[in-house]
């Protein structure tokens, strides 16, 4: 059987049931493909065993880049390339460089991080998402289990899901 095509879906009515469900399902030895929710559910990363995101690191790196860029730009233009006497100040008037440096740092940090986020999460205007169930953007939490990735039979999996408190258990096949 081809992977990433045929799924069993467990639909949960609210986040507490979902969290409990995830716990039971994983204990039941079922490998969860992914859980889809209409809003962020606290503690779900732990339940699913996700590592915390390292996007903040990206933000930091981009920020540093911004700082360097800003200083290079300002020193390069005002001190190195074309020094001018302005208001009797030195050719390297450091205090006046601070605001722009700060702004560029924040700008690059923010944009860099968000850019990274869009890339890794594959979010783009022309992106075509795989909708397991339309209600996952409304009020339902859906747990998707990839049949191909599980040794167990469909029935067994469905049983586990029902037991875990899913309000419905359906099949979803993509072609």
């Amino acid at each position: 059987m081809e992977s990433d095509k045929n799924f069993v879906l467990g639909v949960y009515d609210d986040e507490d049931l979902l969290l409990k469900g995830i716990k039971d399902v994983r204990e039941g030895g079922v490998k969860i493909h992914e859980v889809y929710s209409p809003f962020p559910v606290h503690g779900i990363e732990a339940a699913l065993g996700y590592k915390t995101s390292r996007l903040s690191v990206a933000a930091f790196l981009f920020g540093i880049t911004g700082t360097c860029l800003a200083l290079t730009l300002q020193i390069g233009t005002m001190t190195v390339d074309w020094p001018m006497i302005v208001g009797g100040k030195d050719f390297f008037p450091f205090p006046t460089f601070i605001p722009v440096t700060f702004e560029l740092t924040v700008l690059l940090a923010a944009f860099g991080m968000v850019g990274t986020f869009f890339t890794v999460s594959n979010l783009k205007p022309w992106g075509k998402p795989r909708i397991f169930d339309l209600r996952i953007t409304d009020d339902k939490h859906v747990m998707a289990v990839d049949l191909a990735k599980n040794g167990m039979s469909e029935e067994e999996i469905k049983k586990v899901l029902q037991a875990s408190g899913a309000s419905e258990v359906n099949n979803k096949n993509f072609v």
Binding site: S37, A59, D81, V120, L123
Partner: protein
């Protein structure tokens, strides 16, 4: 419920709310969402606004704002075609309404990001119902603000890009990083783009909701594109959370920096009344002050028009009124401090500048500023007033008027009589001054009404995440 909470419950409302502000996670709280809404209700309530046919009141509003935009646009044309002379400015008063409006709009543009960012860091959940609209307001306000630095130039067609450090064909011709005006360019554009991103990130899941409810192809296509192919996977959600948190962390100092830098336009100059080190904190406080006032003005209208009483509750309004009272008082203290410093400085021109503000030809502007900004918010010490929709609405508008006058007072009264008495002059506005100001109003409200119709005015995803914990039904 735990014993502590039981004991807390019998205490007076006042104390309750204090605690609830201090740690919002407290179990004991008045519901943030009333009317026993379920998660599905939320989706319905919010999305239906977008999906239904536009209401009469909305059509009326948009027509009004559009016509203002177009009529006032005539003065923008005159300004661009004939020159800045269309304004009432003169050799002595080189800035008046233009920069006043600029600072005023930027100030208003502070609430949004502040609410989302700072309140997010402080885990103030009550923000969730209002941050979407507040952020939208920020975006539009900053757009209006940004118009003035461009329009007020003698040669905007050049200035619009000469103010950027672009490599150019003129040889080694660069911008002057000593100039606070250039800092503004960076501050405002950064603030704008980061706020925009922040706002949009928040919108993505809600767009997805609309997409999945979409009945027509077009709507599906449009909101599909807008939602960036969001699928609500937990992995994405967890990244999403990190992103919003870090963005909030970045945006917070940014919010503070914007008005700080704007205030430096004045603080770094030599003009008595401008040359004041207290400006940065004082401007930031003023910005939050006016920002919250504007948010209230708008929310109270939206709330009524869209029947969102269950989401934007009296509690929200009360909390915001408290912020207004605090910042208003800070501003008041700043005014007084300025006077003290002026007299303490022993600088002739400085002392005169401040006496002239209060008792000179522009005393009325100063009086207006004082009444609107310092006195009126103090009324919010009375619970009856700060929990009353009507009074809140009125005061929120008064505060905005007051903050406009504050900027007018700072800019015009300082310039019109500075060091050399021979050059002292008065400033009288001309039709174009008012016209261009009106234009930005038209722009602002047109944009806001469009937003209110086609975008989800409340952050569904966030509200959903708290509905279970806070909705009356589940509380019982």
């Amino acid at each position: 419920m735990s014993g502590t909470s039981l004991r807390l419950e019998i205490k007076k409302n006042q104390t309750l709310k204090k605690i609830q502000i201090m740690h919002a996670e407290s179990v004991v709280r008045r519901p943030l969402v009333t009317g026993g809404k379920t998660v599905h209700d939320i989706t319905n309530d919010i999305c239906s606004r977008v999906e239904e046919k536009p209401s009469k009141s909305w059509l009326l509003a948009i027509t009004l704002s559009l016509s203002v935009l177009i009529i006032a646009g005539y003065y923008v044309y005159r300004l661009l075609w004939h020159g800045i002379g269309e304004w009432g400015l003169n050799k002595t008063v080189g800035w008046a309404w233009d920069i006043t409006n600029f600072v005023w709009w930027v100030g208003i543009g502070h609430a949004g990001t502040l609410i989302s960012a700072i309140l997010l860091l402080f885990r103030q959940r009550w923000r969730m119902a209002i941050n979407r609209a507040a952020e939208a307001m920020t975006i539009f306000a900053v757009i209006c603000a940004a118009m003035f630095p461009v329009l007020h130039m003698g040669r905007p067609w050049l200035g619009a890009y000469w103010a950027l450090p672009l490599p150019n064909t003129f040889g080694s011709l660069w911008v002057n990083f000593n100039s606070p005006l250039l800092w503004d360019v960076f501050a405002i554009s950064t603030y704008f783009s980061v706020s925009l991103v922040f706002w949009y990130i928040g919108l993505i899941p809600d767009f997805a909701t609309i997409r999945d409810r979409a009945t027509t192809k077009i709507r599906k296509a449009i909101y599909g594109a807008l939602s960036f192919g969001w699928d609500g996977a937990s992995k994405t959600w967890s990244r999403y959370e990190t992103v919003s948190l870090v963005l909030a962390g970045l945006a917070t100092p940014l919010v503070l920096s914007v008005h700080t830098i704007v205030s430096m336009d004045f603080a770094t100059s030599v003009i008595p009344g401008w040359h004041t080190t207290i400006f940065p904190p004082y401007f930031v406080a003023g910005a939050i002050f006016s920002g919250f006032a504007m948010v209230l003005t708008l929310l109270l209208v939206t709330r009524r028009v869209y029947k969102l009483e269950d989401y934007i509750t009296i509690q929200h309004i009360e909390l915001m009124n408290i912020v207004i009272t605090i910042t208003g008082s800070i501003v008041g203290v700043a005014y007084i401090t300025e006077f003290f410093i002026a007299s303490y400085s022993g600088v002739e021109a400085e002392q005169y500048a401040f006496l002239n503000r209060a008792f000179g030809p522009y005393w009325w502007a100063y009086a207006a500023m004082m009444t609107c900004n310092v006195i009126s918010p103090q009324l919010f010490w009375f619970k009856s007033i700060r929990t009353n929709i009507a009074s809140t609405f009125v005061i929120s508008i008064i505060v905005n008027i007051g903050m406009w006058f504050e900027r007018f007072v700072i800019i015009v009264t300082s310039l019109h009589r500075d060091f050399v008495p021979s050059s002292w002059a008065m400033f009288y506005p001309k039709p174009a001054d008012i016209g261009v100001y009106m234009f930005t109003f038209g722009l602002f409200f047109t944009a806001f009404f469009l937003f209110a119709k086609f975008f989800p005015v409340i952050n569904m995803a966030e509200v959903k995440s708290i509905v279970k914990a806070t909705s009356e039904k589940t509380d019982k």
